[in-house]
Amino acid sequence: MDETQSGEFAPTSVPRTEVLLQVDHLEVSFEQPAGRPAVRGVKDVSFSIAAGETLGLVGESGCGKTMSALAVMGLLPAGAAVTGGAIMWRGTAVDARQIRRLRGRSIAMIPQDAMTALNPLLSVQRQLTEVMKIHHGMGRAAARARAIELLELVRIDEPRRVAVQHPWQLSGGMAQRVVIAMALAAEPDLLVADEPTTALDVTVQSEILALLQMLQADLGLSLIMITHDLGVVAHLAHRTAVMYAGRIVETGPTKRLFHEPAHPYTRGLIASTPHPFRVEATKGIPGQAPLALLDDPACSFRSRCEKRTEVCETRPELKSYRHIDHEAACHHAG
């Protein structure tokens, strides 16, 4: 985290005038082999995102953050399905078919591994222009010119040369920029970025993050940033939601959440983040994260929690902590 270094930390929140996407009590279940009941991987997840806002969705692998995002995009893998809750786009509940129409045009995705997300056999240009042709009915020449513009926008040198290249000729960082350009091609309102920097070198990571931040500010996009890296969230997100075992355990303005973490898990996460200027070893969280699939009637974090008491055998609800929009699901918060 940067707070000790620069004093400047997390963008100040934007006025939440227009809520773009609202997710209410989302539940995603996975089909099981014949006979066994389906299990829930995402439980009772609610969040919302306003125009121009960045929401960080943080958690360890398998906590359900990616599944929540895929559900929003209507891209859940075979065997997984939304089994509860509602997804609202600009105040209207949308079903799977309507989400499909929003996809690409209003909500775009930046995937985890740009290299494999690009079709190996098609040129960069083809993969960029098809989006514009489909969504805006652009002609070949106009789409081509726009593709070059987009490549310039994501700061690719020699966009004309790169446009005719194939993915295997790109470096990891370039591929990530191309994928971002692809996501921007249809001028969406909301970007869903799933660990967009995980597969990259540290230096490239910070370039991509700076790029995302710039694009987000310049184009007024909303951004859902899914990551396990608290540093990324601290940099970019206006608000942050921490997920654990398929549920949101704490949510609030990023600055507040980092300065006054209410949930022991959030505190543990912050303590286990390495810092280049802090010499002392990072402190991990003892134990292992439970599978999000397990249905636990108690607080899922209790086995790893220092504050654990008897009350932890019942599941805590998300409730406000010191401030109206800072919520935590812990009996011992506040």
Partner: protein, 348 residues
């Protein structure tokens, strides 16, 4: 060539049929390279290498034929009446050049082959190669039609099956393609004749003439070729469907049909193309033999059977040669196509 005389060899050497095979192939791959915008020397060199390799394969096959026939048969004894004297046999061997040392015979054999001289058909008296080449167009018609049916019917079936793995459609397609793949052609052909020629009288039972005669034999062949093709198509499309680039394409808001056509098809094409060409080669040199006999189709396959029955050695050897050349040519063409689709082939 053990039944051709040395005089013929010399004559043919003088008239000099030229060896023109490598140039068209090389030109084709260079043109392909230019067409797809990545003309470079390595591609041309690679294509030449493939062709040289193909030549070597043909020579090895033909050498095997040479040594096997040399060590297992005694044509002079077979050609002369029973009870002929040893002098008569020796005289014929001398006339046929079979008394020369083996290496010399081999040398002549290779030289004849390079001049495309396989001697004269014992049965028809015409040059053996001519006899074989004359039969090729009818077989190409048959196999071409079968390939067309496979591509138009069975490849789409495989794609449809891959869309919902485990569904009823998928299981029906799998059952149909496995049945087609495993049904013996002589049986399948006979059944088709029984139903569509004898009972319904839509098509002639056998013979040749117009395209209508080609339908039943082509359908019989198509079941074998297409059955495998449908299976490979299904597997290949399923493989691709799980790739991140497909999820990304969906995230871009592209329709399923568009994704299949523009994104998945090209990626899934490699194995399909490989199997299709392999099946084509197999159909010409193998399956056509059975089907052509069942339907009295006067093609290459039936010639193989006829010449074996007639012990027409020059024709048999010419058949083997043509078969080997066809397989090599089909392989080279497939490799070139694969490289056009997948320019990374080399770097992989």
């Amino acid at each position: 060539m053990f039944v051709s005389t040395r005089n013929e060899t010399i004559l043919n050497a003088e008239s000099g049929p030229t060896q023109s095979a490598p140039t068209p192939g090389a030109r084709r791959s260079a043109a392909a390279a230019r067409a797809s915008g990545w003309v470079d020397l390595s591609t041309v060199r690679w294509a030449l290498g493939r062709i040289v390799f193909g030549f070597a394969a043909v020579i090895i096959v033909m050498s095997a034929v040479f040594f096997v026939t040399r060590s297992t048969s005694d044509p002079a004894r077979k050609m002369l009446p029973l009870g002929s004297s040893q002098e008569q046999i020796d005289a014929l061997n001398a006339r046929l050049g079979l008394d020369d040392p083996l290496w010399m015979q081999y040398e002549h054999f290779l030289s004849d082959m390079f001049h495309l001289d396989f001697g004269r058909s014992i049965w028809e008296g015409r040059p053996a190669l001519e006899v074989v080449v004359d039969r090729l167009p009818v077989t190409f018609t048959l196999v071409g039609l079968a390939l067309l049916i496979s591509i138009v019917v069975f490849v789409p079936l495989g794609v449809i099956a891959s869309l919902r793995p485990g569904s009823l459609t998928d299981r029906l397609v799998t059952a149909l393609s496995l049945a087609g793949l495993s049904a013996p052609q002589f049986w399948l052909g006979a059944m088709l004749v029984l139903v569509f020629a004898v009972e319904l009288d839509w098509f002639p039972t056998s013979g040749s003439g117009s395209m209508i005669y080609a339908v039943l034999p082509a359908v019989t062949l198509a079941f074998t070729m297409g059955g495998r093709l449908a299976q490979v198509t299904r597997t290949s499309f399923l493989d691709q469907a799980g790739s991140p680039y497909v999820t990304m394409a969906r995230a871009k808001g592209l329709s399923t049909f568009y994704i299949l056509r523009r994104h998945v098809l090209r990626n899934a094409l490699l194995p399909i193309l490989t199997i299709a060409s392999w099946d084509t080669a197999r159909a010409i040199t193998g399956h056509a033999v059975v089907v052509e006999v069942v339907f009295a189709w006067p093609g290459f396959g039936r010639l193989v059977i006829e010449s074996v029955q007639r012990q027409d050695f020059p024709v048999i050897q010419a058949c083997v040669f043509i078969g080997a050349v066809l397989i090599v040519v089909i392989n080279v063409v497939t490799d070139v196509l694969n490289r056009i689709i997948e320019p990374r082939m080399e770097s992989r």
